[in-house]
Symmetry: C2
Subunit: 435 residues, 2 copies
Amino acid sequence: MSLATEPRAATDAGSDAAIATDMNALGRQARAVAQRLANATTAEKDSALAAIAAALRRNEEEILAANALDVSAARGSGAAASFVDRLTLTPARIEAMAKGIEEIAALPDPVGSVIAEWDRPNGLHIERVRTPLGVVGIIYESRPNVTADAGALCLKAGNAAILRGGSDSFRSSTAIHRCLVEGLAAAGLPAASIQTVPTRDRDAVGQMLAGLDGTIDVIVPRGGKSLVERVQKEARVPVFAHLEGVCHVYVDRAADLDMAKAIVVNAKMRRVGVCGAAETLLVDKAVAASHLKPLVDALQDAGCAIRGDATTCDLVPGVVPATEADWPREYLDGIIAVKVVDGLDAAIAHIARYGSHHTDAIVTGDHAAADRFLTEVDSAIVLHNASTQFADGGEFGMGAEIGIATGRMHARGPVGVEQLTSFKYRVRGAGQIRP
Amino acid sequence: MSLATEPRAATDAGSDAAIATDMNALGRQARAVAQRLANATTAEKDSALAAIAAALRRNEEEILAANALDVSAARGSGAAASFVDRLTLTPARIEAMAKGIEEIAALPDPVGSVIAEWDRPNGLHIERVRTPLGVVGIIYESRPNVTADAGALCLKAGNAAILRGGSDSFRSSTAIHRCLVEGLAAAGLPAASIQTVPTRDRDAVGQMLAGLDGTIDVIVPRGGKSLVERVQKEARVPVFAHLEGVCHVYVDRAADLDMAKAIVVNAKMRRVGVCGAAETLLVDKAVAASHLKPLVDALQDAGCAIRGDATTCDLVPGVVPATEADWPREYLDGIIAVKVVDGLDAAIAHIARYGSHHTDAIVTGDHAAADRFLTEVDSAIVLHNASTQFADGGEFGMGAEIGIATGRMHARGPVGVEQLTSFKYRVRGAGQIRP
């Protein structure tokens, strides 16, 4: 036994070490170009982005061919239809990717912009100025378009990027990455400005979470529960946390029923697979008799399945009873959990207990109730009389985003170009010394 | 051997578990009051701060008695004079602490303030609003006044605080903490709003760095090299990094010599023990012949010892030669390292290699050179023609601060009340749904 396992152990260790070495080299290369990128001009960055968009269009055929291999492998391994859909590229999706890059190019350059400035009584002039973060690591699922979006956003913000997409999209991401590198070269920027991890090995994720020997400044993880758990356990560098979106709509006693129906159906069913989709409907007990059935009917008419608490099951015959496991659940599907709560305080308490600090909405005509909800619900985005599906950088007017951060450090809510920057204080004097 | 060590191992494990339990209870208590604190009114928080200031004055005698025991124990164990000085309280220092608390009360309440707001074409009104961070853990050296300052700053920002001061100030901190609790009670705020760690055990620091079972949102570490190293190795929660201040003054070829002398002497010698004190003087080779000796003379006249590179030793007889270990060194003492560099690029390169991203200054009449220095030196604070000793929240007009953050995430530069907050997006609609 002992002899039989030893050689394998040795091989494993050797391969781990090899990955560590390769990954740390990625980190060193990123760190080596970070200063050059931090000082790249707006024109350099934007011309690289334009060249990347052109390269994506020019290499459409090659990207589609690589993607076809990924898709057929995923189908062969029995992947779910929704997974295959997110993985699949088409000419239209490649054109959308290229347009997305051009939109990022059109955004104002955040680097060097003055966020605040003031004068001190001693004559010092102080400016708070945006700077890049440095080296950003992004870990994401098998959505090939993220390789283009995330690389472009990091570049615009003056950061070096290390991208690690889902292994099922490895060939597609590699083909897209070649376009990124072509665009960088065309603008005279170093190829290492945007790197992808050249292996499918999941150990690479662990290496990134450990910080690649101090070369990564921040990790942006985008993925499901297992990645989130891994990040919480293993991350040794700052993380812009992206938890799941267990989003709630609370229909208050002072809600207009028609408005509530429209918002609830949109929040749940417009797109069920996005993180801003509602997963739980809370209805105020005071209006349960009048509002609950019409709300449930509207959801069911839109094709949504219901998991109801005891009161809901009493008031609406035929509803499947919810279990405790339904309340913290992110279905990302045409299913909603429904609960009758005893007013605003109970709604806020439910969200505090089961929510994920992502996006939550109240429907009410009572402005005092709305103010309390907006203040007391501790989520990145809180809405009054609007759909949770507005949780999106584009809808906020911030341009493209990598995701919706649910942590409270640095970035919260949509993570776009500005959220990928830091700042410094620039102080100008005329010989001032401190008394 | 095996039998002999087993009982000890068991005892150790038992005592570790006991600390873990106690510490986690602190975390749970902090978490339990965080929501109450987040929604505390400005009046509640400010009246607690006023009551804390009054309690510090009222309990002066008790605080001085506790402090006398700490001081005599520190003296007995042979602590350095500068250490004992920072540890020692006097009636004047207690009055300064009380005044400091009153100044924090007078600051605007950051919580709920609108940082930005805009309207979307669909009529949605979006506000970015400051919120508390949640539970803040602060680890600091044996400076009893930090217990009052840090607790008050966290309270003003609506955060629950867990404070862990140096073990040599344990009795003093405990006495000061009693005043904090008295003030909280007077304003009807929960005692657990500001907790101190009730043990001198250094394992408590490790527990805090591990996040107290998910209850701590952010750690602010303030201390020397050993704490910084421990934080880098052990922290599992976000940290507002406070590295040491290896601050530089670069005297450029276009510097006015008199201005340079005034700034260099002030930056080094005004107070040698603060993190914004200059530790290295870089002099442009182009003016070394004319400027170096007068600068060194001025420093020596102010009582500063010099460690010079080879060129400095050639130009100024009698200077002690610097070794490689001097360049990254934070002396916090009347010593400065001096190096002649080949112009602006070499100065920027030296700072990139040896600096700590804290505070660096250029003295020059050349505005293009100044702009390049301010842009390319990657430090929290960069100054042109002003002393590095301005690295201070008060001097920036930001009020009291916990320290100068040298990381690039969330807080950078002085960490005052605003830096101890997060934000959320508050969105108001009239029934909008997303197309």
